[in-house]
Amino acid sequence: MTHVDRESELALVSRLRAGDAEAFDVVYDHFNARLFNFLARLSRRRDVAEDLLEETWLRLVARARRLRPDTRLAPWLFTVARNLYASYCRSRLVEDSHAAGLIGLWPFGSPRPTPFESTAANETERRLEAALAGLPVRYREALLLVAVEGLRPAEAADVCGVSSETMRQRLSRARALLASRMDPTVTPAVGWSKLARHEVT
Protein backbone atom coordinates (compact mmCIF):
# COMPACT_ATOMS: atom_id res chain seq x y z
CA MET A 1 0.00 0.00 0.00
CA THR A 2 1.33 3.39 -0.83
CA HIS A 3 -0.16 5.48 1.95
CA VAL A 4 -0.79 2.86 4.59
CA ASP A 5 2.10 1.55 6.60
CA ARG A 6 2.92 -2.12 6.61
CA GLU A 7 1.61 -2.67 10.12
CA SER A 8 -1.81 -1.28 9.24
CA GLU A 9 -1.81 -3.34 6.07
CA LEU A 10 -1.11 -6.54 8.03
CA ALA A 11 -3.90 -5.65 10.42
CA LEU A 12 -6.27 -5.09 7.51
CA VAL A 13 -5.30 -8.44 5.99
CA SER A 14 -5.93 -10.13 9.30
CA ARG A 15 -9.37 -8.52 9.55
CA LEU A 16 -10.18 -9.42 5.96
CA ARG A 17 -9.29 -13.03 6.71
CA ALA A 18 -11.80 -12.90 9.54
CA GLY A 19 -14.46 -11.57 7.14
CA ASP A 20 -14.60 -8.05 8.57
CA ALA A 21 -16.74 -5.89 6.26
CA GLU A 22 -15.32 -2.66 7.75
CA ALA A 23 -11.83 -3.73 6.74
CA PHE A 24 -13.13 -4.45 3.27
CA ASP A 25 -14.48 -0.89 3.10
CA VAL A 26 -11.07 0.54 3.98
CA VAL A 27 -9.36 -1.53 1.31
CA TYR A 28 -12.09 -0.74 -1.21
CA ASP A 29 -11.85 3.01 -0.61
CA HIS A 30 -8.10 2.90 -0.92
CA PHE A 31 -7.84 0.83 -4.09
CA ASN A 32 -11.05 1.15 -6.06
CA ALA A 33 -10.14 4.24 -8.07
CA ARG A 34 -6.55 3.06 -8.55
CA LEU A 35 -7.64 -0.33 -9.85
CA PHE A 36 -10.23 1.27 -12.09
CA ASN A 37 -7.70 3.64 -13.64
CA PHE A 38 -5.23 0.81 -14.09
CA LEU A 39 -7.82 -1.37 -15.81
CA ALA A 40 -9.20 1.49 -17.90
CA ARG A 41 -5.74 2.40 -19.17
CA LEU A 42 -4.92 -1.24 -19.76
CA SER A 43 -8.13 -2.09 -21.61
CA ARG A 44 -8.74 1.44 -22.97
CA ARG A 45 -12.44 0.83 -22.40
CA ARG A 46 -14.50 2.08 -19.52
CA ASP A 47 -17.15 -0.65 -19.66
CA VAL A 48 -14.54 -3.42 -19.69
CA ALA A 49 -12.67 -1.76 -16.82
CA GLU A 50 -15.84 -1.60 -14.72
CA ASP A 51 -16.67 -5.26 -15.32
CA LEU A 52 -13.13 -6.39 -14.51
CA LEU A 53 -13.04 -4.16 -11.46
CA GLU A 54 -16.15 -5.79 -10.05
CA GLU A 55 -14.70 -9.22 -10.71
CA THR A 56 -11.47 -8.22 -8.97
CA TRP A 57 -13.33 -7.28 -5.79
CA LEU A 58 -15.39 -10.44 -5.90
CA ARG A 59 -12.18 -12.45 -6.14
CA LEU A 60 -10.86 -10.70 -3.05
CA VAL A 61 -14.04 -11.51 -1.16
CA ALA A 62 -14.00 -15.12 -2.33
CA ARG A 63 -10.37 -15.60 -1.30
CA ALA A 64 -10.25 -13.36 1.74
CA ARG A 65 -10.14 -16.25 4.21
CA ARG A 66 -7.26 -17.89 2.34
CA LEU A 67 -5.09 -14.78 2.11
CA ARG A 68 -1.65 -15.30 3.56
CA PRO A 69 -1.17 -13.27 6.74
CA ASP A 70 1.74 -11.39 5.14
CA THR A 71 -0.09 -10.57 1.90
CA ARG A 72 0.74 -7.24 0.29
CA LEU A 73 -2.60 -5.94 -0.87
CA ALA A 74 -1.48 -3.69 -3.72
CA PRO A 75 0.46 -6.35 -5.64
CA TRP A 76 -2.22 -8.94 -4.85
CA LEU A 77 -5.05 -6.79 -6.20
CA PHE A 78 -3.14 -5.60 -9.27
CA THR A 79 -2.16 -9.20 -10.03
CA VAL A 80 -5.78 -10.29 -9.95
CA ALA A 81 -6.86 -7.31 -12.07
CA ARG A 82 -4.08 -7.88 -14.57
CA ASN A 83 -4.82 -11.62 -14.83
CA LEU A 84 -8.51 -10.94 -15.32
CA TYR A 85 -7.65 -8.58 -18.15
CA ALA A 86 -5.39 -11.23 -19.69
CA SER A 87 -8.24 -13.77 -19.43
CA TYR A 88 -10.59 -11.25 -20.97
CA CYS A 89 -8.20 -10.76 -23.89
CA ARG A 90 -7.85 -14.49 -24.37
CA SER A 91 -11.58 -15.08 -24.26
CA ARG A 92 -12.37 -12.29 -26.67
CA LEU A 93 -9.28 -12.80 -28.80
CA VAL A 94 -8.56 -9.14 -28.35
CA GLU A 95 -5.02 -8.24 -29.18
CA ASP A 96 -4.52 -4.58 -28.80
CA SER A 97 -1.85 -3.83 -31.32
CA HIS A 98 -3.40 -6.04 -33.95
CA ALA A 99 -6.69 -4.28 -33.44
CA ALA A 100 -4.95 -0.91 -33.50
CA GLY A 101 -3.15 -1.95 -36.68
CA LEU A 102 -6.38 -2.95 -38.33
CA ILE A 103 -8.04 0.29 -37.32
CA GLY A 104 -5.05 2.13 -38.74
CA LEU A 105 -5.68 0.46 -42.09
CA TRP A 106 -9.22 1.79 -42.16
CA PRO A 107 -9.26 4.77 -44.55
CA PHE A 108 -10.93 7.21 -42.20
CA GLY A 109 -10.05 5.48 -39.06
CA SER A 110 -7.97 6.35 -36.10
CA PRO A 111 -8.11 4.50 -32.80
CA ARG A 112 -11.00 5.58 -30.63
CA PRO A 113 -9.76 7.96 -27.92
CA THR A 114 -9.47 6.37 -24.51
CA PRO A 115 -11.65 7.68 -21.65
CA PHE A 116 -8.55 9.47 -20.40
CA GLU A 117 -7.77 11.35 -23.59
CA SER A 118 -11.11 13.12 -23.55
CA THR A 119 -10.62 14.21 -19.93
CA ALA A 120 -6.96 15.17 -20.23
CA ALA A 121 -6.16 18.50 -18.61
CA ASN A 122 -4.03 19.80 -21.48
CA GLU A 123 -2.52 18.93 -24.83
CA THR A 124 0.64 17.40 -23.38
CA GLU A 125 -1.38 15.15 -21.13
CA ARG A 126 -3.62 14.15 -24.01
CA ARG A 127 -0.60 13.24 -26.11
CA LEU A 128 0.90 11.30 -23.23
CA GLU A 129 -2.33 9.37 -22.77
CA ALA A 130 -2.50 8.65 -26.48
CA ALA A 131 1.13 7.52 -26.55
CA LEU A 132 0.59 5.32 -23.51
CA ALA A 133 -2.55 3.82 -25.01
CA GLY A 134 -0.63 3.04 -28.19
CA LEU A 135 2.04 0.99 -26.42
CA PRO A 136 1.90 -2.80 -26.60
CA VAL A 137 0.25 -4.26 -23.53
CA ARG A 138 3.39 -5.64 -21.88
CA TYR A 139 5.04 -2.22 -21.93
CA ARG A 140 1.87 -0.37 -21.02
CA GLU A 141 1.22 -2.53 -17.97
CA ALA A 142 4.82 -2.14 -16.82
CA LEU A 143 4.59 1.64 -16.97
CA LEU A 144 1.15 1.70 -15.40
CA LEU A 145 2.26 -0.39 -12.44
CA VAL A 146 5.51 1.39 -11.73
CA ALA A 147 5.17 4.96 -12.97
CA VAL A 148 1.45 5.48 -12.40
CA GLU A 149 0.60 3.20 -9.47
CA GLY A 150 3.92 3.53 -7.70
CA LEU A 151 4.66 -0.17 -7.27
CA ARG A 152 8.29 -1.13 -6.89
CA PRO A 153 9.75 -2.78 -10.03
CA ALA A 154 10.11 -6.05 -8.09
CA GLU A 155 6.43 -5.93 -7.12
CA ALA A 156 5.46 -5.13 -10.72
CA ALA A 157 7.53 -8.13 -11.82
CA ASP A 158 5.53 -10.35 -9.46
CA VAL A 159 2.27 -8.89 -10.74
CA CYS A 160 3.23 -9.64 -14.34
CA GLY A 161 4.73 -13.02 -13.49
CA VAL A 162 8.19 -12.19 -14.85
CA SER A 163 11.63 -11.90 -13.32
CA SER A 164 12.91 -8.60 -11.96
CA GLU A 165 15.44 -8.44 -14.76
CA THR A 166 12.75 -8.88 -17.40
CA MET A 167 10.68 -6.17 -15.76
CA ARG A 168 13.67 -3.86 -15.67
CA GLN A 169 14.17 -4.39 -19.42
CA ARG A 170 10.49 -3.90 -20.12
CA LEU A 171 10.44 -0.64 -18.22
CA SER A 172 13.48 0.61 -20.01
CA ARG A 173 12.05 -0.27 -23.40
CA ALA A 174 8.65 1.10 -22.52
CA ARG A 175 10.19 4.38 -21.49
CA ALA A 176 12.15 4.64 -24.75
CA LEU A 177 9.12 3.68 -26.80
CA LEU A 178 6.95 6.22 -25.02
CA ALA A 179 9.56 8.92 -25.56
CA SER A 180 9.70 8.14 -29.27
CA ARG A 181 5.93 8.33 -29.53
CA MET A 182 5.81 11.59 -27.66
CA ASP A 183 8.44 13.08 -29.92
CA PRO A 184 8.28 11.66 -33.46
CA THR A 185 11.62 13.30 -34.32
CA VAL A 186 13.36 10.96 -31.90
CA THR A 187 14.36 7.74 -33.60
CA PRO A 188 13.83 4.76 -31.35
CA ALA A 189 16.80 2.53 -30.62
CA VAL A 190 17.52 -0.29 -33.04
CA GLY A 191 14.80 -2.89 -32.90
CA TRP A 192 12.20 -0.60 -31.47
CA SER A 193 10.00 -0.46 -34.54
CA LYS A 194 9.93 -4.23 -34.48
CA LEU A 195 9.12 -4.23 -30.78
CA ALA A 196 6.38 -1.69 -31.29
CA ARG A 197 4.65 -3.94 -33.72
CA HIS A 198 5.11 -6.99 -31.57
CA GLU A 199 2.02 -7.34 -29.43
CA VAL A 200 2.08 -9.47 -26.35
CA THR A 201 -0.38 -10.22 -23.67
Binding site: D25, E54, E125, V148, P153, L171
Partner: protein
Protein backbone atom coordinates in the same frame (compact mmCIF):
# COMPACT_ATOMS: atom_id res chain seq x y z
CA UNK B 1 15.64 0.45 -15.58
CA UNK B 2 17.96 2.37 -13.36
CA UNK B 3 16.84 4.59 -10.44
CA UNK B 4 17.80 7.58 -12.64
CA UNK B 5 15.43 6.40 -15.33
CA UNK B 6 12.68 6.08 -12.72
CA UNK B 7 13.15 9.78 -11.98
CA UNK B 8 12.78 10.62 -15.66
CA UNK B 9 10.45 13.66 -16.07
CA UNK B 10 8.26 11.81 -18.55
CA UNK B 11 7.73 8.92 -16.14
CA UNK B 12 7.06 11.37 -13.33
CA UNK B 13 4.46 13.07 -15.50
CA UNK B 14 2.80 9.68 -15.97
CA UNK B 15 2.28 9.59 -12.23
CA UNK B 16 0.52 12.96 -12.41
CA UNK B 17 -1.94 12.03 -15.16
CA UNK B 18 -5.58 12.86 -14.46
CA UNK B 19 -7.58 10.06 -12.96
CA UNK B 20 -11.12 9.18 -13.87
CA UNK B 21 -13.58 7.78 -11.39
CA UNK B 22 -15.73 4.71 -11.77
CA UNK B 23 -19.46 5.28 -11.95
CA UNK B 24 -20.45 6.12 -8.33
CA UNK B 25 -23.69 4.14 -8.37
CA UNK B 26 -21.88 1.14 -9.86
CA UNK B 27 -19.14 1.46 -7.26
CA UNK B 28 -21.68 1.48 -4.43
CA UNK B 29 -23.47 -1.52 -5.92
CA UNK B 30 -20.19 -3.45 -6.08
CA UNK B 31 -19.32 -2.45 -2.53
CA UNK B 32 -22.72 -3.59 -1.22
CA UNK B 33 -22.50 -6.84 -3.13
CA UNK B 34 -19.04 -7.57 -1.81
CA UNK B 35 -19.98 -6.66 1.77
CA UNK B 36 -23.01 -8.92 1.61
CA UNK B 37 -20.93 -11.74 0.18
CA UNK B 38 -18.23 -11.25 2.80
CA UNK B 39 -20.82 -11.30 5.60
CA UNK B 40 -22.49 -14.39 4.15
CA UNK B 41 -19.15 -16.18 3.94
CA UNK B 42 -18.26 -15.16 7.50
CA UNK B 43 -21.56 -16.52 8.82
CA UNK B 44 -21.07 -19.74 6.91
CA UNK B 45 -17.53 -20.07 8.31
CA UNK B 46 -18.84 -19.42 11.82
CA UNK B 47 -21.53 -22.08 11.39
CA UNK B 48 -18.91 -24.55 10.17
CA UNK B 49 -16.67 -23.70 13.11
CA UNK B 50 -19.57 -24.17 15.57
CA UNK B 51 -20.39 -27.51 14.00
CA UNK B 52 -16.76 -28.53 14.27
CA UNK B 53 -16.66 -27.55 17.94
CA UNK B 54 -19.87 -29.46 18.58
CA UNK B 55 -18.40 -32.51 16.92
CA UNK B 56 -15.13 -32.27 18.79
CA UNK B 57 -16.57 -31.51 22.21
CA UNK B 58 -19.71 -33.62 22.31
CA UNK B 59 -20.28 -36.02 19.44
CA UNK B 60 -16.83 -37.60 19.43
CA UNK B 61 -16.74 -38.19 23.23
CA UNK B 62 -20.33 -39.46 23.12
CA UNK B 63 -19.43 -41.92 20.39
CA UNK B 64 -16.34 -43.15 22.21
CA UNK B 65 -18.27 -43.30 25.51
CA UNK B 66 -21.06 -45.30 23.87
CA UNK B 67 -18.58 -47.73 22.38
CA UNK B 68 -16.90 -48.21 25.76
CA UNK B 69 -20.27 -48.80 27.40
CA UNK B 70 -21.16 -51.38 24.80
CA UNK B 71 -17.84 -53.11 25.26
CA UNK B 72 -18.21 -53.08 29.03
CA UNK B 73 -21.74 -54.50 28.75
CA UNK B 74 -20.43 -57.28 26.58
CA UNK B 75 -17.72 -58.09 29.11
CA UNK B 76 -20.23 -58.10 31.98
CA UNK B 77 -22.56 -60.26 29.94
CA UNK B 78 -19.81 -62.77 29.21
CA UNK B 79 -18.76 -62.88 32.85
CA UNK B 80 -22.31 -63.44 33.99
CA UNK B 81 -22.80 -66.17 31.39
CA UNK B 82 -19.71 -67.86 32.70
CA UNK B 83 -20.87 -67.83 36.33
CA UNK B 84 -24.52 -68.67 35.54
CA UNK B 85 -23.41 -71.72 33.54
CA UNK B 86 -21.32 -72.91 36.49
Amino acid sequence: MTPDELRDPMLLSLGRLSAISPDPSGAERVRSRCRAELTRRRHRAERTARRRILTRRFLAPAFVGGFCLLYLSAVVYDVMQLYVVR
